[in-house]
């Protein structure tokens, strides 16, 4: 009972922004896992008349696998107890797996639920190379979705040493080697220098020009070097930056400093919502979304994902360990910290964004402002920084907030208004996203920003990742329950039920480097790291690397 090699999705209303298709009625033809121009009339058909057809969703930034995510899973038995996930009844491919959900679901459930939302590609946003092997195995246990991960480098002590010694070329080669050794997809910077400072006992850095420890290296220098590394290595995705001072009042100044420091250089700024606050630390909070998004709008080299906060339960988990310490200290909540030798940190605090909490309401509003004031949806894409701002399962609700002004205004009335004074949301932002814009911020845009040329569109030769939604009055309901999902040509969701769960592919890069870099790296391992140099790389992966851009 293998699925047909060919399939015609017939008569749907197609939203394929990369190819300029905006709601036209047409067929989408699939053969051997790819989109093709046409098929014989006798090919199997899916009747999509009256339904909305889009490329499969692409999540540019989520936390779904690896050591930190698994520490968070371990911390949340009460969430898992109330959200058991029975095994789906698959029609082929061996027995499915049960699991648990909550804000940090088990691996199989993560794959099933993403596919059940019509998402077919997910990027895990933060993996320490030391634990990359675990992330790969967890992704092996995360079915259906094609997945890769970003490699944490912004607090890597060897890299910092090279920058201190002005060995910038060496740093680029090291970054290339590290990406390949970890089997990662992109360079990730988290709170550049701040996590290293936390581990040294200096707690954090306050701005991009503050030297880290006794070295002359500053966050600015790290940002510049790694941004250049990604450009010179022609990586498919530019450097992926989580700025300094996440979650602090007044941090918009740091965010704008960072963007200005890298002006003219291609860079992606992640969960921008968490970095767009005005006011003053310890004194006042307000929205600075307008200042930040105006800069983004005016600078085509900048792309962002929003990192929307959704009201309800979340789990904050990040390499930005000093932030999690502050959250623990101020809330008294459970807290995990793991210092990861010479590379990064890990902090986890389970959390809830309460409608009646002033700061949570502000965060919610700031994210929506960013979305609604953005002029180019291709560069301002959707994320909740799952599970930090809320679960990926809240994307349909977020889509409704963007598409349905009346609903948004009604929600706005219910949240705590105390800190919303400067928010453009109160001025009555009338914008409503169109289906085409939703297709951009949830698939076409992220695919393009990730440099995944075969994803995010339905042109000939694209990966046959397709989602078909039955139209509903409530768009949240519509986006939560796709009628059909096709992944690599396989019908995984049929009549709203998960029926097949093939393995996804691993998305990774293997940039070239001058292997003279390895002499210094080996000496560094012998001196400092508790794992042998030879045992550090994850070794060959089954899927071929994504080529340079």
């Amino acid at each position: 009972m293998s699925p047909p090699r060919a399939l015609r999705i017939a008569g749907g209303e197609v939203y394929d922004p990369i190819n300029g298709v905006d709601g036209e009625t047409r067929d989408v033809c699939i053969e051997d896992g790819r989109i093709v121009a046409d098929l014989p009339a006798a090919a199997p058909r899916l009747d999509a008349r009256g339904m909305v057809v889009m490329p499969g969703g692409v999540d540019i930034h989520a936390h779904i696998a690896g050591a930190t995510v698994n520490q968070a899973r371990r911390l949340l038995p009460e969430q898992h107890a109330v959200d058991p996930a029975p095994r789906p009844e698959l029609v082929e491919g061996g027995p499915a797996r049960s699991g648990t959900g909550g804000t940090v679901p088990s691996t199989f459930t993560t794959g099933y639920r993403y596919a059940g939302l019509g998402y077919t590609t997910v990027m895990e946003a933060a993996v320490a190379p030391l634990a990359a092997r675990q992330a790969h195995v967890e992704l092996d246990d995360t079915p259906i979705v094609d997945a890769g991960f970003f490699v944490l480098m912004g607090n890597n002590e060897y890299l910092l040493q090279q920058l201190a010694a002005r060995e910038t070329e060496h740093a680029h080669d090291y970054a290339a080697w590290l990406l390949g050794a970890a089997g990662g997809y992109a360079i990730k910077i988290v709170n550049p220098g701040g996590v290293a400072a936390w581990k040294m006992g200096a707690r954090n850095v306050a701005g991009i020009d503050q030297p880290i420890g006794s070295s002359a290296v500053t966050p600015r220098r790290i940002l510049e070097a790694l941004t250049d590394s990604a450009i010179r290595l022609r990586l498919p995705h530019p450097v992926h930056i989580h700025c300094n001072n996440l979650g602090q009042a007044g941090n918009a100044a740091t965010t704008l400093d960072t963007m200005r420091a890298l002006a003219g250089r291609r860079a992606h700024y992640t969960h921008l919502q968490f970095h767009s606050y005005g006011g003053e630390r310890g004194k006042s909070w307000q929205s600075a979304a307008r200042d930040v998004i105006e800069h983004v709008n005016a600078h085509p080299e900048v792309s962002v994902d929003v990192g929307q906060v959704m009201l309800g339960p979340a789990t904050t988990l990040t390499a930005d360990a000093p932030v999690e310490y502050l959250l623990h200290a101020s809330t008294g909540r459970r807290w995990v910290n793991v210092d990861i030798e010479l590379e990064t940190g890990c902090g986890i605090v389970p959390y809830e964004y309460k409608e009646q909490a002033a700061v949570a309401a502000l965060q919610w509003a700031v994210g929506l402002e960013l979305f609604l004031l953005a002029t180019d949806p291709w560069r301002v894409v959707l994320s909740t920084d799952h599970p930090n701002g809320g679960s990926f399962r809240s994307y349909p609700e977020l889509i409704r907030l963007l598409m349905d002004r009346a609903y948004r205004d009604e929600r706005l009335k219910r949240v705590n208004q105390k800190l919303l004074g400067g928010s453009a949301l109160l001025d009555g932002l009338a914008r409503q996203y169109s289906l085409s814009e939703i297709a951009i911020v949830t698939r076409a845009g992220p695919a393009r920003l990730l440099g995944l040329q075969h994803k995010g569109h339905l042109g000939i030769g694209a990966d046959a990742d397709v989602t078909v939604y039955a139209r509903e009055q409530d768009v949240a309901q519509m986006f939560a329950t796709p009628r059909y999902v096709v992944k690599a040509g396989v019908l995984v969701v049929d009549e709203g039920q998960l029926r097949r769960a093939p393995a996804g592919r691993r998305l990774h890069v293997r940039p070239e480097y001058d292997d003279q870099v390895l002499d210094g790296v080996k000496r560094h391992f012998d001196r400092s790291i508790s794992v042998a140099f030879e045992n550090y790389p994850v070794g060959p992966l089954a899927d071929p690397p994504v080529p340079a851009s």
Partner: protein, 398 residues
């Protein structure tokens, strides 16, 4: 072969040079005594038996599948000496069967529950060497984690304080010692936490503990070492929680990592794999078709109550908790793992497999949850992963 990972204890030293002679391990260079014992000669039994007689592997798998699928309350137990791949296959079997699954980590369930209530402040072992103060809390790593100090902690010098809790003594060569009465140990930890937080109540009889807390507060980076394999009824259920709370509190005035010493054979891997596949680290019951967390209905408890009527021991049966071994005496058991034929009970089905890291390549976790590659240094009997995978496929057909 160089850079081989040793699973003789949770240190998982990966600098071992294995020298082979005549298809045996002649030398495990750099290994400590525990490691040398773990590698041995690499010669392991290779029996495949069912009902006491030698059978083909296929027959043994069929019999194991029959035994498990007939059980009304099956148990899958992830014993030590399995690779992560074999542990993943073990959890898949339990999920398919609707079984209870557990591992030796259950023996220290209070530590796991404490971690779930509070979290923890920890570090990978490579961070330990940046510590300027190492406090060995009632444990001497030299005894059961011999290369912890040489590899991760550095010399036992002026940075090390031994805390002797009655008979549980810190390193004998530490330059400083603090003696505590076991009866007041948890009180001492609570007082130390309060001291760190600046509450500093009067502490008659516990002045030494309060002074130690002040000393820790003045350090730049504290490593607090304790024994994660301390189990049994004598262990105060609040013990680990008190250590976790102290370690976390120290991160206000300074930095601190709690280092939990764990034994070998990829024990930590069982919790990690169970957690990512089910959301829970131990004692998971699939009977209702979904994972249910039953930290107070663990394998040992259910075996003692006579609830289990069929069991799969995946891994070595030689290192099982006493209560589990005892309980298995009256149950039909299939053992698939290294030295299955040497089980100290009478399994119905026995498949001797190779040892993960000696005969089977793959991945294992160090005591600090850092994943490391395993090498196959010698050919051996059937690989546990492939036997368990075949059993899973067979069960899916039953």
């Amino acid at each position: 072969m160089e850079h081989v990972t040793c699973l003789g204890c949770g240190c998982a030293c990966d600098d071992i040079g294995v020298v082979l002679r005549d298809d045996r391990i002649a030398e495990a260079r750099n290994a400590c005594a525990l490691g040398r014992e773990w590698f041995g000669t690499g010669v392991v039994p290779t029996e495949v038996r069912s009902a006491g007689v030698s059978v083909t592997l296929e027959q043994a798998i069929a019999d194991a599948a029959g035994l498990l699928s007939r059980a009304r309350r099956p148990l899958v137990y992830l014993a030590p000496e399995l690779s992560v791949a074999a542990q993943r296959a073990g959890v898949a079997i339990a999920d398919g069967l609707g079984a209870i699954i557990d591992s030796p980590t259950s023996e220290s369930v209070h530590a796991t529950l404490a971690g779930q209530r509070r979290g923890r402040a920890a570090a990978t072992l490579g961070e330990i060497r940046r510590a300027d103060l190492l406090v060995c809390w009632g444990v001497d790593p030299a005894e059961r984690y011999p290369r912890y100090f040489p590899r991760y902690g550095g010399a036992v010098d002026g940075r090390v304080i031994a805390v002797d809790v009655g008979e549980r003594r810190g390193p004998g060569d530490a330059l400083e010692r603090v003696a505590l009465d076991p009866a007041t140990e948890v009180d001492a930890l609570a007082l130390m936490r309060a001291t760190v937080l600046g509450h500093a109540p009067a502490s008659p009889g516990l002045e030494a503990a309060a002074e130690l807390a002040r000393r820790m507060t003045r350090a730049r980076y504290v490593a607090l070492l304790h024994d994660g394999e301390r189990v049994g009824p004598a262990v105060d259920p609040d013990w680990t929680e008190a250590l976790i709370a102290l370690g976390q509190a120290l991160n206000g005035p300074t930095r601190c990592a709690l280092s939990t010493l764990r034994a070998g054979g990829n024990r930590s891997g069982a919790d990690s794999v169970l957690t990512w596949q089910t959301g829970f680290p131990l004692a998971v019951d699939f009977a209702s078709g979904v994972p249910r967390y039953r930290p107070h209905e663990r394998a040992a408890t259910l075996l003692e109550r006579g609830e289990v009527d069929g069991a799969l021991i995946a891994g070595s049966p030689l290192a099982l908790p006493v209560r589990v071994t005892r309980g298995l005496g009256s149950v039909r058991v299939a053992v698939i793992g290294p030295r299955a034929s040497a089980a100290p009970f009478a399994p119905a089905v026995i498949v001797d497999t190779g040892v993960a890291g000696i005969h089977e390549a793959g991945m294992a976790f160090r005591m600090d949850d850092v994943p490391l590659p395993l090498a196959a240094v010698l050919p051996g009997p059937h690989a546990a992963t492939s036997v368990l995978t075949a059993l899973r496929a067979r069960l899916a057909r039953v």
